[in-house]
Symmetry: C2
Subunit: 73 residues, 2 copies
């Protein structure tokens, strides 16, 4: 599984869990709204600096965005 795909899913899941829109997240993370959209659509391979901004905005540890959900199926 491509890491950026996993990241994309985790990002969206974490965002929705926080009840934030892409716009909200973009504002909090000081990133562009359309870029958040692109990330969730797996367009880009974000840098650590971006991952750090996002994890802070989402109030979670960065490594959580790279973890596979423990689904035994």
């Amino acid at each position: 599984m491509k890491l950026r795909n996993l990241f994309a899913r985790n990002l969206k899941a974490a965002r929705l869990l926080k009840g934030m829109s892409q716009e909200d997240l973009a504002y909090e993370a000081e990133l562009d709204r359309t870029y958040i959209s692109a990330l969730e659509r797996r367009i880009y391979s974000p840098s650590l600096d971006v991952i750090e901004k996002l994890s802070k905005a989402l109030e979670l540890d960065a490594y959580l965005l790279l973890m596979a959900p423990d689904k035994p199926d």
Copy 2:
């Protein structure tokens, strides 16, 4: 703590744990030796694609490279 600094330390630690030189790792990850050196010196904020290559070469899960060591001092 800047995420790229944490990553740099974890990368080096994981590499040494495997008994690999920067050259070895560069070869396995299909990256340039000097680029590995730069990463360990915190020059760059690597993208997920690079992190993926490195984690595969080091035979560990990518998220481990973003985790803070649990040192209570």
